[in-house]
Subunit: 334 residues, 2 copies
C-alpha cells in the first residue's frame, strides 16, 4: 500500500506539473497585441482546426506552409518602400566615386534632394538607381552594406530604425504559427539579398525561407576564393503573378495560409485560398492615420483595390489596423 | 522509508530506462552500410566536431546546411540519367498525339528505338525532347505524370524501380546528418519538378529543400482555378557554376557540407569548402563495375576528372564505392 501511495504521489505530482503546463499554455494569449474581434478570432480558429488530429481540416506538419508579404504586411512601407531609402542613401554614399552623376538623371535630381523629381519617370529611374547601388559587389559585401545601413539609418517620420518599424501583432502571428508547426516564409517584392541579412533576427525567418525579387549573380573564383558577384541584370520580379511563381519555384507546394496587404499580393492569396481543405487568406488594411498611415485604393505605395474587393467577396480575413491592433510597433530598443 | 524506497525504485527504474536508451543511441552505428575506412571516419569525425558545444569547430544548428547532388550521388545515373528514361518513355506515350514526330528528328529515331542516333546531336535534341515532354501541362499534372511513371518504370539493367536505385549508404548519411541537426538539400542538374514529387518519401527531403534545373512557369486562373503552367522556355540550369548560384538563390547561405560525384559538382564543392571553420566536401567515386558501374575521367555521364584532381589536392573525402560500401541499394520493396 505504501508503495502504491508513493507511486500515486509521484504520478500525481507529475500530472499536476503536466496539467499546470498545459493550463498555462492554453490560457496565455498567443496574440496579446490583437484586440478581440473577427480578425483575431479567425486566426485562432484556423490554427485550432488545422492542428487538431482527426479533424477533417487537419493539415500534417509538412504541409503547414504560411507565406507573408513583407512591405506593408510585416513592416511599414510609407512614405516609400524602405529599400528605396536604402538605395537613395547609397547613391549619396557612392556619389564621390561617380562624379558623372552630377549631370546624369535620375542621380542629379537625387543628389540635389529632389527625390520626387528623380523618381518621376516611373520604373526606369528606379531600376537605374537599384542597379547602381545593388550590383557590382559580391553577395557577402552587399549583405554587410545592408547591415551597416540598418545599424544607423532612421525612418524620416518616426526616427526609428527601420527594423523597429515591424508590426508587433504580426510578429505574434509568426511566432504563434511556428509554435503550431508551421514553416513561415517571406514572399516579397523586395530584394531577396536585401532582406536575408536581417530576417532571421527580426522575424525568426531563416534565409532559406525568404523569397524575393532578385538580380542575376555569377559564381567565380577570385584569387582562388569563391564569390558570388551581383550583376546588373534582373533575374526575377517577385510581385503580383510572380509571387505564386516564386512560391512554386522555392517551396514547391501550395501554402495553406497567406498574408498580404496590397494588390501585389492578390495572386499569392488566390493561389493559397484556391486549394482544397482548410485555407487562410488575410489582408492587412492600413486604416490608422494616427499611429501609422491610412491608405488603400488610391495609394502609390501598397495600393489595395482589387484585392480588397476580392477579400470581401470571398470572405478572406481583413485586418482593420486601427480597430484590431492594440499596438503597432514593438517597444523601442534604442 | 517505504515511500523513500518506492520513490527510489521509481527513479532508478526511470534512470535505468534513460541510460539504456542513451547507451543504445551512442553505440549503434549510424552508418552500418559503410565499411570502416577513411571515408566513413571522415564523415563521423566531421559531424562530431561541428556538433560539439564549446569546440572551436562548433557550427550552430541554423548554419548546418548540407547539399547533395542527386544523379550519381544519391541514386544511380547509368547507362543514362534517369530523367532521360522518363523523357523517352513520355515520347512513346505521347507519339499518338504527334503524328508529325514520325518524320521529325530527334523523335523519329527515338520512336524507331534508336536512342543513340536521336541523342547524337548533343544538347539540342535533348532540349527538344525535354520541352516536348516536360512543358505544356500544369505543375500539378506534371507531378502526377512523374509519380505514375515511377510506379511502373524499371531500370533496363537491374529491373528495379528507379526509386530503389538510390544508394543505401547515402540514405544513412542523410539520416545521420539530420539526426545531428543538419538541414539536407538536393542540388541537382535534374529538373526541380521532376524530383519534388518523390524526394520526401525516398530521401526524407521536403520539396522546399530541393534545388534543380527548371523551365519557366506561368501563373494563371483557369475557370477561376489557379494553376501553374509549365512553359517551353529554360529558366535555370543548375549545373557546374550554376550549382552555387542555385544554392545562393534558394538557401542564401553557404553549406558547411557538400556531396557530389562529378565535375558538375566541382563549383558547389569549392563554394562549400572555401568557407571558414569546419568544412566537409565528399565525392562518390564510381569504382564498382560488378555491383554498380565503374567510370570517371572519360565517362559521358557523370564525368569525374577535374573534380577528382581537386579532391586529391585539397584532401576532400573520396568514397571508393567498391571498398567503402557494404551494399549499394536498399532491400527491394517489390
Amino acid at each position: 500500500m505504501a508503495m502504491k501511495r508513493a507511486l500515486l504521489a509521484v504520478l500525481t505530482f507529475g500530472f499536476a506539473l503536466t496539467f499546470g503546463g498545459l493550463a498555462t499554455a492554453q490560457t496565455a494569449d498567443p496574440l496579446p497585441s490583437w484586440n478581440n474581434g473577427k480578425a483575431k478570432k479567425s486566426i485562432v480558429e484556423f490554427v485550432a482546426k488545422v492542428t487538431k488530429k482527426g479533424s477533417p481540416n487537419f493539415v500534417p506538419p509538412s504541409e503547414r506552409i504560411a507565406t507573408f508579404d513583407n512591405d506593408g504586411t510585416l513592416w511599414a512601407e510609407q512614405p516609400m518602400y524602405f529599400q528605396l531609402f536604402f538605395a537613395l542613401d547609397r547613391v549619396k554614399a557612392l556619389s564621390s566615386q561617380h562624379p558623372e552623376w552630377k549631370d546624369k538623371e535620375p542621380f542629379a535630381s537625387l543628389l540635389k534632394g529632389d527625390v520626387k523629381g528623380a523618381l518621376a519617370g516611373g520604373e526606369r529611374p528606379i531600376l537605374e538607381i537599384v542597379m547602381a547601388t545593388h550590383a557590382g559587389m559580391t553577395s557577402d559585401e552587399f549583405a554587410q552594406i545592408v547591415k551597416d545601413w540598418l545599424a544607423t539609418a532612421q525612418h524620416p517620420v518616426t526616427q526609428r530604425p527601420f527594423t523597429e518599424m515591424v508590426y508587433q501583432p504580426m510578429l505574434e502571428v509568426l511566432a504563434y504559427l511556428r509554435a503550431n508547426g508551421f514553416k513561415t516564409f517571406i514572399v516579397s517584392g523586395g530584394g531577396i539579398e536585401f532582406m536575408r541579412p536581417w530576417t532571421e533576427e527580426v522575424y525568426g525567418i531563416p534565409s532559406e525561407q525568404v523569397i524575393g525579387s532578385s538580380i542575376k549573380t555569377k559564381f567565380e573564383l577570385r584569387d582562388g576564393k569563391p564569390v558570388h558577384v551581383r550583376l546588373s541584370e534582373l533575374n526575377f520580379i517577385d510581385d503580383k503573378a510572380g509571387k505564386p511563381v516564386g512560391i512554386n519555384h522555392h517551396i514547391g507546394r501550395r501554402p495553406v495560409a497567406a498574408f498580404g496587404n496590397s494588390d501585389g499580393d492578390l495572386e499569392m492569396l488566390q493561389w493559397t485560398a484556391g486549394g482544397t481543405g482548410a485555407r487562410f487568406a488575410l489582408i492587412v488594411h492600413h486604416t490608422d492615420a494616427v499611429r501609422e498611415w491610412a491608405y488603400d485604393r488610391k495609394s502609390h505605395v501598397g495600393q489595395l483595390d482589387k484585392a480588397l474587393d476580392e477579400a470581401q467577396t470571398k470572405g478572406w480575413t481583413i485586418v482593420d489596423m486601427k480597430q484590431d491592433w492594440k499596438v503597432i510597433y514593438p517597444p523601442a530598443k534604442r
